[in-house]
Amino acid sequence: MRQTPQTLFDKLWSSHRIAEREDGAALLFVDRHFVHEGSFHGFSQVTARGRKVAVPDLTFGIADHYVPTHDRDKPIANAEIAEMVSKLERNSADNGITLFGLRDPRQGIVHVVGPEQGLTLPGLLIVCGDSHTSTHGAFGTYAFGIGASEVAHVLMTQTLWQKKPKRMRISVEGQTTAGIAAKDIALAIIARIHADGAQGHAIEYAGSAIRALSMEGRLTLCNMSIEGGGRCGMVAPDETTFAYIKGRPYAPKGAEFDRAVEDWRQLTTDAGAEFDREVTLDAAAIAPIVTWGTTPDDALPIDASVPDPSRETDETRAAYIRGALDYMGIKPGAKLTDIAIDRIFIGSCTNARIEDLRAAAAVLSGRTSKVPGLVSPGSSLVKSQAEQEGLDRIFKDAGLEWVESGCSMCVGINGDLVPEGERCASTTNRNFRGRQGRGARTHLMSPAMVAAAAVTGHLADVRPLLAGRKV
């Protein structure tokens, strides 16, 4: 008898299902749980119950959200921030959890470190109290962000109750043109489906343009799933995936690796499997994209103009556009390339991996940034590698600050903030009001596009700046 064709997500779901309730909720086994400084609410709930972490060897602590990006060799100056970092150290030590702490050479942003260390593998279920946990889906992993109560539940039981999401396939077919990055693909998708478009769905990214992406590119793409409303997004593992994993510290070795690859090859969507929703994009039509407003779906090609609310027929939409333009300090109908910036940020779990830094450096090499800015590598190991390649010199020579690794100016809770009213070209994931600081104005784009904005002092098309350069 032939089995019903299954999607990649169906396979991941059923391989983690321990039990199912009558109302449809399933108890799922959690293979990896990452905790960070912000996970303290979860640990408090565990302590309040007089419990301990059930399976400490499947939990990893990583200091990223609050860590300073300056003066790492000195004690943390801000007492509240120091307390957040030491609380994670205490919670990890008390429960026997491996910690990549502030001064560990493996420290970095959780969604960069997991893959880098080989902790993120195809076929796993990974959770973390952070919405960008969707990033790990790049390996064909069921990975999603959870709140503090779910963090506590996983700590106490190594399981989680979930209702099965619907399945959505986003196919990007064909070849992207020169100068187009995974970030442009992600923003193009979000602009199409909207910020709530994938709510209630598990996304699978497919198509030839996705297959052609490196692991770094796939990580960027899956990272942004949540900005399209999807709690998780994934790419089926392939040779690119296996090559990336091989030899990583926590990855299976030798015969175990070969056996794993054999299993991982089964993690694809079967021919004829059904999705609840399908969206297809033409890769060749994707231009470099920037955001103009206060949600990631306010995204347009760089040669466009921002919307004019007076030309909008839907009054709710017009009111939204007016509010967003007012917050962003942009005139209705303004050309994107006429928008001057005050600073730049290159960093975050979205775009601070080695390829991202290389892409920005390719534009900045031999040029000067017209505005100040921070470059914060995705991990301390990415930082070392970039320094070996001389990328730090390029950033510093351009007038930018080369700092330590952490969430930094993406969320601003370590003190790296965009001052009120200033406009920042940023490689991050959220242009929400106040995200980078109260009154901060964020424009999201790829690392190369941020570099182009730095060099010109305004939002700009990177493609002319790449002419004659090796990328």
Binding site: L119, G147, T157, G439
Partner: protein, 205 residues
């Protein structure tokens, strides 16, 4: 966890789209333990000016809605960051139900764990309900979870909620207690899983 069954209360319309969790609770308050009073900083940067004074045109600051227990909002309420403290802020301020056309998945899940009902109505009905309340701010709504209804004046709306969330809110279930009762199944799963996915284990480095 507190149960949610039925509630009759005033409703405050906050008719903006995409009120993400950064707007619900700005990140700088995430260091706060819950008992420090997260309700006082709910919507802080859109509710108060930079000096901490209430903005008079923000709906929560209007006297008619000071004691509202239901919040009505635009599409995609609670998208973005997974911060459960955003739910604590909404709940500790005094809200027990949020009505909107759609919600961020993680926010909705966090809400269920804290006894906060997220009731989804079609956008046109949310707009109609908000308009009725703006016309008569003292008007109360009755939210009935078992029936999945919201009554306001002579109108009754049927809202959507998935059965899992409904079940949990009605019963005030504690997930951990429930999961503990599945100990044997978890043990059996792990034993079988070690055979079928040996590569999934974490090996000491």
């Amino acid at each position: 966890m507190d149960k949610f069954t039925r509630l009759t209360a005033k409703a405050c319309p906050l008719m903006r789209q995409n009120i993400d969790t950064d707007q619900i609770l700005p990140a700088r308050f995430l260091k706060w333990p819950r008992d420090k009073g997260l309700g006082t900083v709910l919507f802080n940067d859109i509710r108060k000016d930079a000096d901490g004074n209430d903005l008079s045109d923000f709906p929560l600051n209007k006297s008619a809605w000071r004691d509202a227990k239901v919040l009505i909002a635009g599409r995609n309420f609670g998208g973005g960051s997974s911060r459960e403290a955003a739910v604590y802020a909404v709940y500790d301020y005094g809200f027990r139900c949020v009505i909107a056309p759609s919600f961020g998945d993680i926010f909705a899940q966090n809400s269920v764990k804290n006894g906060l009902l997220t009731a989804a109505l079609p956008e046109a009905e949310v707009n109609e309900l908000a308009a009725a309340i703006e016309a008569d701010p003292a008007r109360e709504v009755t939210v009935d979870l078992a029936q999945q209804t919201i009554a306001c004046g002579n109108r009754t709306y049927n809202f959507a909620i998935d059965p899992v969330s409904k079940n949990q809110l009605l019963n005030g279930w504690d997930d951990v207690d429930l999961t503990d009762s599945y100990g044997a199944q978890i043990g059996a799963f792990r034993a079988a899983d070690r055979q079928s996915r040996p590569w999934a284990a974490v090996k000491a480095r």
